[in-house]
């Protein structure tokens, strides 16, 4: 009991000893801001909230907080903080001015902050600068330029061209009729329901974007990029972060490094590149171009053609309405259900082409080649490799003019063939059926099998 009393007493004494006086002073001023005039706000060390009204009137409210060892000191200091509302040739300027608080001015052990609450005409342009505080602007139907540092910026229900510069804080733009530009560093950027174009530059932070009415440009560094529902052309660059694009109604270009690229349901053409990661696309409306370095490429369901180049990563393409041109190095290529022409080239890995509707050309080295053309009218097939087998399955009722050649291995055909010229195990010339399309099979140190379709 005695101990408890002692602790309580100690706490009370300590609290009393820690007592620090805090003063709050309110500021309020209303002034006219006629149509066509702009509002400039220069503030720091506190939040700024901007609301709008139909009236051509500006209302500024400030909550000024000061604390010091003595109440009198805090009161005097608070009294010296000025919120200036001045008319300028272009409109009205609201400026927060703090007394100097360095050691030479006599102000010590003081602390302070000012939060501004502004109500302005909804059609007046806004230029706002703030540091060390959050900024919120809502329902502004005019252009805004917000320059903030060390604080979150939120822009809601805007109309007009908006520009936001920020550092060390997140930026959120929700609903804007007009173009938006956001330049941020070290913070997340979120933008949704923008009817105009959207341009985002961000370093060291994720970007999340949805429902963009026109063009989209994102330059990101070291952060994830997530894009959904874009009507205009999208151009995205990133590094060290994954990029995901879903439901784009126009063309998409993604340049990434050291991060995944994923594109889904892109109506327009797509140009995708990355390194040291993966590219994945599906349900694409038009042509797809992929450039990868040390990157695997996977794609399915493309309305146009696919042109892919990569190295040290598997290429797997399926259900392509157009052609597929794939150049890879040191990696496997798998292509199936390709309606158009196929060209595939790699080394030190196998190439498999299944159900190809167009001409097939394969150039490989040190890797097996398997080709199965689609049944129907014949298309030329040219397969070449070395140190690995070639297997081609001939569709039923297809006619080919066959030329086959290998070294240090045999040619075997399960399909009936009319042979002409010299007959040897390493070389063959002849016709399958009544001939027609060229079937050219070239190998070195690897066998050739001509198989019958089941």
């Amino acid at each position: 009991m005695r101990n408890g009393t002692r602790i309580l007493l100690t706490c009370c004494c300590a609290t009393a000893a820690f007592a620090r006086d805090e003063i709050k002073r309110d500021f309020q001023q209303t002034t006219a801001l006629p149509a066509g005039r702009m509002l400039r706000v220069v503030h720091s060390l506190g939040n700024v909230t901007v609301r709008t009204q139909a009236k051509a009137e500006l209302s500024v409210q400030a909550a000024i907080h000061c604390s010091a060892g003595r109440a009198e000191e805090a009161r005097i200091f608070c009294g010296q903080i000025q919120i200036r509302v001045d008319e300028s040739p272009t409109g009205v300027v609201v400026r927060t001015q703090y007394p100097h608080t360095d050691g030479f001015t006599g102000w010590r052990n003081l602390s302070y902050s000012v939060s501004l609450d502004i109500t302005m005409p909804e059609t007046a342009p806004l230029e706002l600068r703030n540091r060390f505080g959050a900024v919120t602007v809502q329902n502004l139907h005019a252009a805004a330029k917000i320059d903030n540092g060390n604080g979150r910026v939120t822009l809601l229900n805007g109309r007009g061209r908006q520009r936001i510069d920020n550092s060390f804080g997140d930026v959120e733009v929700r609903t804007n009729e007009g173009d938006v530009t956001v330049v941020n560093s070290n913070g997340m950027v979120t933008a949704s329901d923008i009817t105009g174009t959207l341009e985002i530059g961000n370093g060291f932070g994720d970007v999340r974007v949805s429902n963009i009415g026109r063009g989209l440009t994102i330059h990101s560094g070291n952060g994830k990029v997530d894009v959904e529902h874009v009507t205009g052309i999208s151009q995205i660059s990133d590094s060290f972060g994954d990029v995901r694009v879903w439901d784009a109604k126009a063309g998409v270009t993604v340049r990434n490094q050291n991060g995944k690229v994923e594109a889904k349901e892109v109506t327009g053409s797509a140009d995708l590149s990355t390194s040291f990661s993966t590219v994945n696309f599906s349900r694409m409306g038009k042509d797809v171009t992929v450039r990868g370095q040390n990157a695997s490429v996977t794609g399915a369901g493309v309305g146009g053609s696919v042109n892919a180049e990569t190295s040290f990563g598997v290429v797997d393409l399926r259900e392509i309405k157009g052609g597929a041109r794939v150049i890879a190095g040191n990696t496997e290529i798998r292509l199936s259900d390709i309606e158009g022409e196929v060209y595939a080239k790699t080394s030190f890995a196998g190439i498999t082409v299944l159900s190809a509707g167009g001409p097939i050309t394969v150039e490989s080295a040190n890797g097996s080649v398997t080709a199965v053309p689609k049944p129907g009218p014949c298309k030329p097939v040219s397969l070449a490799t070395s140190f690995a087998p070639i297997r081609v399955t001939v569709p039923p009722n297809a006619g080919y003019n066959v030329t086959g050649k290998t070294t240090f291995a045999h040619i075997h055909s399960a399909v009936e063939m009319t042979v002409s010229g010299d007959i040897s195990a390493e070389q063959i010339t002849g016709k399958i059926g009544s001939g027609g399309c060229e079937l050219r099979l070239m190998n070195q140190n690897g066998g050739i099998d001509i198989l019958k379709s089941r």
């Binding site: 609290t15 302070y112 902050s113 060390f132």
Partner: protein, 201 residues
Amino acid sequence: MIFQCSDLERALRTPELLPEMRAHAARCETCGRQLYLWTEISRLAPELHREWESPFLWERIRSALAAEASSRRPSPAWRWMLAAAAVALFAVWLARPWQSGSARDLLTDAALQEVQQTEAAYTHSIDRLSALAAPGLQQSPSPVAAVYREKLVLLDSAIADLKANAENNRYNGYLQAELASLYRDKQKTLRDWLTQNAKRN
């Protein structure tokens, strides 16, 4: 003496009172039941008695007593720290610096003390992480290392800027929160680099 049930324990310790107690128990049902229980315990307890060898028991008791004695020795530093912690907790609770809103725009002394302690802990952690990360980070020619270096430079510059501002506005809660956020970011960046570097190696 007017015997009551509350006198039972005293009577059990005093043989002179036993006859009177027994007489009372014969008339009183409550006391009779209690006396019966005590008598049964006294009868059965000796049968339950067991003995076994325990050569180290006394040594353990002695060392435990010695340890307890030393922990009871007055320790001004320890007491001061306990008191400081109690005061800080109490003052922080009173101040409730975690509450948002204008009421907490400015910190109290106790809250500032808490913040400074947290900052010191972060600085300590960051120093240790920096010492671990520095050799690999500075020497690595990889683009990833370049990105981490760039981010750390950016964070260091922002921390210096914030500290300069907080120097003359120490009780500003926003500045202190931002500073803490930057320290967190720097700590995370160093940790991420170390994790990534470990994976690569």
